[in-house]
Structures are given as structure tokens and as C-alpha cells.
């Protein structure tokens, strides 16, 4: 899963650039700036009150976009796969845009389809990290198994309990 560490994001938008580039024909920045259709990012660095945060599809387990898609353009290849979009099936009805709780699916008006994060499944199949993750200079974006994330959180919470106990003991 994609992990976002809000305290690390400096808002540089390198993830946006890398994401858009990954979804071009040339995958070369110097050529991509001239490509048609224009490259588009599936991640958006959004500004919170005091923080910036890169937002992209959370690949929901019970994904409202998949449930609502009338043409089954949005689908999962298998239980563990991210939510994919079949461009040929998509009719651009934007039901998914409305259903998405996070606002991370958008319409590409020129492409007549919606666009969303595919978690760079091709890169991941080749053992690489998603483009946004590998582009992030501060490690604000990470790609980890959910078990790993849970284990880390548990460890952090244990540490907190230990600390509070030792303070109490004093």
C-alpha cells in the first residue's frame, strides 16, 4: 500500500511530475513535455491548513468506484490487485468521480476517460517502486505491505506506552 508521511512532505511536486511521466509514451521528461495527449498526474499534492500532502487513489477494499461503474471499466484483476481502469470500456460518465470519497479520480476531457492511480502495477511487477514513491526526495511517500505498516505502528505505540510507564515510575 502507499503510505503518506505528512510530516515529511515539502510540497515539491516531484511525485506529480514522476507520475505524469510514468504514464506517457516516451517516459522521457524532455520528450514528454511535447507529447499529445498531455501527460497527466494521478497524484495531486494538496495544501492543507499547515501541511501539504500528496493524494492519490487508496485502492479501497470495498471500492465505491468499482461498485458504481456501469461498464465495469473499473475493476480488479484479482483480490490483491489495485483498482484498474479499462480505457476502452470507460464512457466518461464520471459516476466514479462522484462516488470516490477522496476526490482522487478525475476526468481527462481530452482522453474521454477518467484517470486514476494504477499504483504503477507494471513497475511493481518488475520489482520497482511506484514512480511517485521513487521520486520523493524526502521519503514522504512509501510503498509497503499492510502487514509491515501495521507492525511498525504497533511498535511505535509500544514504545509510547513504555515511555509513559517509565515516566510514571519516576
Amino acid at each position: 500500500m502507499l503510505v503518506v508521511r505528512v510530516d515529511r512532505c515539502l510540497g515539491c511536486r516531484s511525485c506529480e511530475l514522476a507520475c505524469a511521466l510514468e504514464h506517457t509514451a516516451s517516459r522521457d521528461l524532455e520528450q514528454a513535455i511535447y507529447e499529445v495527449p498531455r501527460p497527466r498526474a494521478r497524484v495531486k499534492v494538496s495544501q492543507g491548513a499547515e501541511f501539504a500532502i500528496p493524494l492519490q487513489c487508496r485502492q479501497c477494499e470495498d471500492a465505491p468506484c468499482v461498485a458504481i461503474c456501469p461498464t465495469r471499466a473499473l475493476h480488479r484483476a484479482d483480490q490483491d490487485s489495485p483498482v484498474f481502469l479499462d480505457h476502452d470500456r470507460c464512457i466518461g460518465c464520471t459516476w466514479c468521480v462522484l462516488a470516490c470519497p477522496f476526490g482522487v479520480i478525475t476526468l481527462d476531457p481530452k482522453g474521454h476517460t477518467v484517470i486514476k492511480c494504477d499504483q504503477c502495477f507494471e513497475r511493481v511487477e518488475h520489482g520497482e517502486l511506484p514512480a511517485c514513491v521513487s521520486a520523493c526526495p524526502t521519503g514522504a511517500l512509501q510503498f509497503k505491505a499492510i502487514e509491515e505498516v501495521v507492525a511498525e505502528k504497533r511498535e511505535a505505540s509500544l514504545l509510547q506506552i513504555e515511555r509513559s510507564l517509565s515516566v510514571d515510575a519516576k
Binding site: 515539491c12 511536486r13 514522476a18 524532455e30 513535455i33 498526474a41
Partner: protein, 657 residues
């Protein structure tokens, strides 16, 4: 880390990069790898930090913001950033010129210790050019007036920079028409920086003109002053033999490296190194002698005047320290990696000493050089190195075997002697060689090393491709050092690399096919040589008419941007490896690589592949030859001798293994 083939094509460098890898020593390529991926906004030149309403960046894909907070577009931002880089590059050269001018004037006034006015012929020629009376005056008296006149060029506010008037009339006319005639050396830099302040100039074409004017104040100003006064103060370079590569370091001797750019201190060090008392000190510590070597352009300065060997170029500065055989590295300014002190750490005995008031380094000892006590300063530094010899840990010493013979030290004036032979000192043989079709033309291949391209590969591939097509090559800076290490500066090289026509010229004149013409400020020699070619006649009336071209296949520094600009706008087509950081602006990119030619006679090409770059140059030379109705080339090109792409070779080797 990538295999050593991908890092360098120099076997000595590969050996030392491998050693670093085995020892877990972090070097430049490791830091490059850790820095990946690099920021696309910066690469395209479309981030702006000129005010703190920002930072701003333009979305190159057209989805996000297309204007900064002040309204600056990608065109404005890319051009404005380029102005700043050009100004920094020009400043570096011009400040170098200023330092030399101060030492020059101090010498003329008898205040500087250990220097003397050596290039009397050139001094008199320059004095006459500046309208200074030479009859009946001593060299020192002439030099004082010349020094004062030249220093005025830095602060000149209006009218025209004096040395810009050396350019062919047509070139000057073009500058006047474009409104880019440089006024004073410092003036242009200050005005350029002013124009990039928020809310000043935002029209991209006006900003590019600013780049041009600033760079001309470097090429035909600061750099040219540095070259001319260095030739007079330290002696005019003459062709001389030496050696290049890490193998010039010696086991039993005290090895002292001078690294950086300015010749003021390094020249004094070379003089001091020859003193008996210094040699005696070496014996006292059990060394068989003192071995001086250079890195970067300091190396080129002392090579062409004193035959001091070249230890290596920019990407070898860390490697020299990893030999464990260097007692002292003395640095001044420019291209000195802050990483050096970490390389030494507590692992090596090497002393690192910075000497310029303009550059201090964490972890270096700073002993400021005083030109009024140049000899004392130089001796003191050498003694520190010699005394450190006892601390050398012989078990850590690894000196690669590689060193190549070379001939260097050609100048606008000494090419005269070389080309014409003793009885015909003129550019006639060069121009005739071109007119007859023995030579296709001349290319200047200059510039840095850059981790983005395999070390030295860009220079060597391009130069060899040019040589086999009968293109004579002039070299400066780290490019010259790359070619020196590969044996291309050996007169024998004509036999192995030159096309038949070029070889005939080399044999007749006794010169190598590539001429080392000095340091990076000495790119000004290329401008004056082009002017001489025009003056000699038969190749048009404008530098832009000449079958000449420039290239910087491994460039990386802001100085290189300034150089490229003054070369292009003096009328020379120039191929650079990495593109300028302006690709985020289509208009600026198209202008620099196309439209500019109409305005200035020259334009840029961005081409990372050195062979393709060489082919662009060859096409350009042929186009110019055709326009001049010159004879067809006498000989077909020599068969290719390309190294191939290092990473492909590496992959092939890996798959065999």
C-alpha cells in the same frame, strides 16, 4: 553502484573507482546515485526562487500553474535563471582576470615578491594596442600603465569594452545592432543580476540578450584579460612535453597537487619547488625529490608554462587523494569538491589547504595567499607538504600505472610559429589547409566532466570522430586533460587517429592533431585565433563564415554556460552535451537552438551522444565550406575507431560472464 566501465573510460580512474568501492569509500558517483531521481522542474529550468512569495514552479505538462505568483511564465523563468547562471559563470572568469591583473600591477610596481614581467613581446604588443608608449620605457614602466589601463576595463561604465574591439568588424557590427556590445566587465554582471530581480525584465528575448552581453564581457573581457596578462606575467606558453594521469604521482617523492584555477599562487609554487633549499628539505625527510602535479585548470596553467604534469581532471580529484600518496593538496577557487575533506577524513595523511580569500572549505586548513609575499607563501606551503611525507602510510598507497606523454602549450601567437614554421609565421598554412580541402575545419572541444556522462568518454569519442574526418581540434580545460590522458596530445596521435589530410598537416608542421591551448579562461584564445583566421583571408569576413565549431560534451558548470554563450554569439555553432536548463520553455529552447543563428551567426545544439554531436559539427563545417565555395575534401574519412557506448560494452561483458 554501476560498474566502473560506466563511470569512466580511463583505466586509471576505473581502478581507483573500484578501489573506492572495495573500501566502502563514498565518491562522486555514489552521491549522484543517491541523488536520483533529480528534480524535473529544476532540470527544465522552470522553478523560480527569486522572491519569497515563491518558490514557484510551472507545470511542464500544462495542467497545473502556467505562471508564477508574480505572473512570470515558463519562458521568463527559464530565461531569467539562465541569466543568473551566465552572470555567475562570467563572474568566476572575470574575478580570476581581476586577481591576475592585481598581481600584474603589483609586479610592475615592484610590490609583488618573486614575480617578474616575462612576456616582453606580448607586453609591447598589448601596450601598443592600448595606445601606451613603449619607446624608451622599461618593461615595468610599460606594465604599470598596461595594468592600470586593463583594470579600468573592469569598472568601465559606458562605451565599449576595449578588447571587444579585437573582434572582426562584422561581428562587432552585429553586436551593436543587437544592442549587446559589452561595456565593462563588472558592469554587465551587475546589470544582468538587476534585470533578474522580481518585477524587472520578463521578456524572454531581452533576458537572452542579457545573457549574451554578460558572456561577451567574460570572453572578450575578463577571460581575455586573464589570458593576456598571465602570458605576460608568467611567460607565454610554448609547446612543451609532459605527462598526464594519476601515474605521474611517485612512490618515493613528496607529491604535492595544486588544484583549482588561478595561476598566481601556482606559478610561485612551481618556482619555489625548484629552490635548492626545498630540495634539501625533501632529502631531510627521506624523499628522493618533490613532485608537483596539477588538477583542473591550475594544472593546465602550470603545464603549458612549466611542463608540470597533469594528475587528472575534475572527476579525478577524489581519486588522486585515494592513492594515499599525496602529502598536500593546495586549492584556490572553482570546481573544488567540498567532498575532498571527507575523503581524507582520518583515513589519509593528506593535508588540504585552501588559499583564496574567495573560497573556504569545511575541514581544510586555510592559509591565505599573499601575492606581495608570493615566494614566502609558496615556500611555506611546500614545507608543510614535505614535512607531511613522514606521515604517509605506505600500506595504503595505490598509484595506478597509467600516464601518457603529451605536448601542450599552444597559443594564438605560438600557433603562428608552429603553423608557419620558422620562416613563415602566419595563419596562412591553416587557412590554406582548409581552403585546399586537407582540413575540413577547426573545432574547439572544451569544458568539464559531468557524472551524467561516462567520464572522459564524451570528450574522447567526439574528438576521435572529428579527427578522422580531418577536423583539427583545439582543446582547453578538463577536455584537454581527458585527451592528454588518452594520448591524443602526443604528436604520434596523428598516426593513429587523424584523417589523411590532417595527418599531412601534422607531419609537415610537427604538431599533434589536437592542440592544448590552455585553461578555461584561455577559451579567449579560441576567439582571437578565429579572428586571426578571418584576418588571414580566404575564409570570409566574419567568424560566422569560418568552418569552425565549438563543443562541450561533458559540461556541467555555470562557467561553461558563459563560455558557450560568448562562443555562440561570436558566431560559432556550438554543440553541448547536457541541454541548458531551459527545456521547460519551448520558445527559449527553439531560439537558442535555431533562431539565434540569424541574430548572432551562431547557435546551440543539445546532443548528449558525442558521436552524433561530432556529426552535427561535421555537417556544419561542410555547410560553411559549401557557402565559401571551398574545394571538396581531398580524402575520405579514416575508418571509425569508436569506443562504443561504455554501458553497452559493460552489459555485453556481463552477459558473456
Amino acid at each position: 553502484m554501476a560498474g566502473s566501465n560506466r563511470r569512466s573510460v580511463d583505466p586509471a580512474a576505473c581502478q581507483m573507482f573500484d578501489l573506492a568501492c572495495q573500501q566502502g569509500q563514498e565518491v562522486v558517483y555514489d552521491r549522484f546515485e543517491a541523488m536520483q531521481p533529480q528534480c524535473g522542474f529544476g532540470h527544465l529550468g522552470i522553478c523560480c526562487r527569486n522572491c519569497v512569495m515563491g518558490p514557484c514552479r510551472i507545470d511542464p505538462f500544462g495542467e497545473g500553474p502556467q505562471e508564477g505568483i508574480c505572473g512570470a511564465t515558463a519562458d521568463t523563468i527559464a530565461a531569467r535563471n539562465l541569466v543568473r547562471s551566465t552572470a555567475v559563470g562570467a563572474s568566476a572568469h572575470s574575478d580570476h582576470g581581476r586577481d591576475v591583473s592585481h598581481a600584474f600591477l603589483a609586479t610592475a610596481r615592484g610590490q609583488a615578491q618573486g614575480y617578474s614581467i616575462k612576456g616582453i613581446t606580448k607586453l609591447k604588443a598589448l601596450a601598443q594596442e592600448l595606445g601606451i608608449e613603449v619607446e624608451g620605457a622599461t618593461p615595468e614602466e610599460i606594465a604599470e600603465k598596461v595594468g592600470e589601463a586593463v583594470l579600468e576595463e573592469f569598472g568601465r561604465q559606458e562605451d565599449t569594452l576595449r578588447f571587444a574591439k579585437r573582434a572582426p568588424e562584422k561581428v562587432q557590427a552585429r553586436w551593436r545592432e543587437m544592442g549587446v556590445m559589452p561595456r565593462g566587465v563588472d558592469r554587465e554582471v551587475v546589470t544582468a543580476l538587476h534585470r533578474t530581480h522580481i518585477g524587472v525584465s520578463n521578456e524572454w528575448k531581452h533576458l537572452i540578450k542579457t545573457c549574451v552581453q554578460t558572456s561577451l564581457s567574460d570572453g572578450w573581457g575578463g577571460s581575455m584579460i586573464a589570458t593576456d596578462l598571465s602570458d605576460i606575467l608568467f611567460g607565454e606558453p610554448m609547446p612543451r612535453s609532459s605527462q598526464a594521469n594519476l601515474g605521474v604521482l611517485r612512490q618515493g617523492e613528496v607529491n604535492i597537487i595544486i588544484h583549482g584555477h588561478e595561476p598566481t599562487l601556482s606559478d610561485a609554487i612551481v618556482a619555489a619547488a625548484q629552490l635548492d633549499e626545498i630540495q634539501a628539505e625533501c632529502e631531510k625527510v627521506g624523499a628522493t625529490g618533490l613532485n608537483l602535479g596539477g588538477i583542473c585548470c591550475t594544472a593546465n596553467e602550470v603545464l603549458m608554462r612549466h611542463g608540470i604534469p597533469l594528475v587528472g581532471n575534475f572527476l579525478q580529484q577524489e581519486l588522486a587523494l585515494l592513492t594515499g600518496a599525496v602529502e598536500l593538496m593546495i586549492v584556490d577557487v572553482q570546481c573544488i569538491m567540498p567532498a575532498l575533506s571527507k575523503i581524507v577524513g582520518d583515513k589519509y595523511h593528506t593535508k588540504l589547504i585552501s588559499t583564496s580569500p574567495n573560497a573556504m572549505f569545511e575541514g581544510f586548513e586555510h592559509i591565505e595567499f599573499d601575492e606581495n609575499k608570493a615566494m614566502d607563501s609558496a615556500k611555506d606551503l611546500l614545507l608543510r607538504g614535505i614535512r607531511n611525507f613522514a606521515n604517509r602510510d605506505r600500506s595504503k598507497v595505490v598509484i595506478p600505472d597509467e600516464k601518457s606523454p603529451l605536448v601542450a602549450g599552444f597559443t594564438t601567437e605560438s600557433i603562428f610559429d608552429h603553423l608557419g614554421g620558422r620562416y613563415r609565421p602566419s595563419y596562412r598554412p591553416l587557412n590554406n589547409g582548409i581552403i585546399d580541402g586537407r582540413l575540413r575545419g577547426v573545432a574547439g572541444v572544451v569544458g568539464c566532466n559531468n557524472v551524467k556522462i561516462t567520464h572522459d568518454w564524451g570528450h574522447l569519442e567526439m574528438v576521435k570522430e572529428l579527427l578522422r574526418h580531418d577536423v583539427a581540434v583545439v582543446l582547453t580545460g578538463c577536455s584537454a586533460i581527458a585527451c592528454a590522458k588518452a594520448g591524443l596530445l602526443d604528436p604520434e596521435a596523428a598516426e593513429h587517429y587523424a584523417g589523411r589530410g590532417l595527418k599531412q598537416i601534422c607531419d609537415a608542421v610537427g604538431m599533434p592533431p589536437c592542440l592544448h591551448v590552455g585553461s578555461c579562461v584561455d577559451n579567449s584564445r579560441i576567439l582571437t585565433a578565429c579572428t586571426e583566421m578571418v584576418r588571414e583571408g580566404g575564409l570570409g569576413e566574419d567568424i560566422a563564415d569560418l568552418p569552425v565549431a565549438g563543443a562541450a560534451p561533458e559540461w556541467m558548470s555555470e562557467k561553461a554556460i558563459s563560455i558557450a554563450f560568448y562562443v555562440v554569439t561570436s558566431g560559432v555553432f556550438t554543440v553541448i552535451g547536457e541541454p541548458l536548463p531551459v527545456l521547460g520553455s519551448k520558445k527559449v529552447t527553439e531560439y537558442l537552438t535555431d533562431g539565434m543563428e540569424k541574430d548572432y551567426g551562431g547557435k546551440f545544439a543539445f546532443e548528449r551522444d558525442p558521436i552524433k554531436g561530432a556529426q552535427l559539427i561535421i555537417e556544419h563545417l561542410d555547410k560553411k565550406r559549401e557557402a565559401l565555395h571551398l574545394a571538396p575534401m581531398m580524402f575520405a574519412p579514416r575508418p571509425t575507431d569508436t569506443l562504443g557506448k561504455p554501458w553497452e560494452i559493460e552489459e555485453a561483458q556481463a552477459s558473456v560472464a
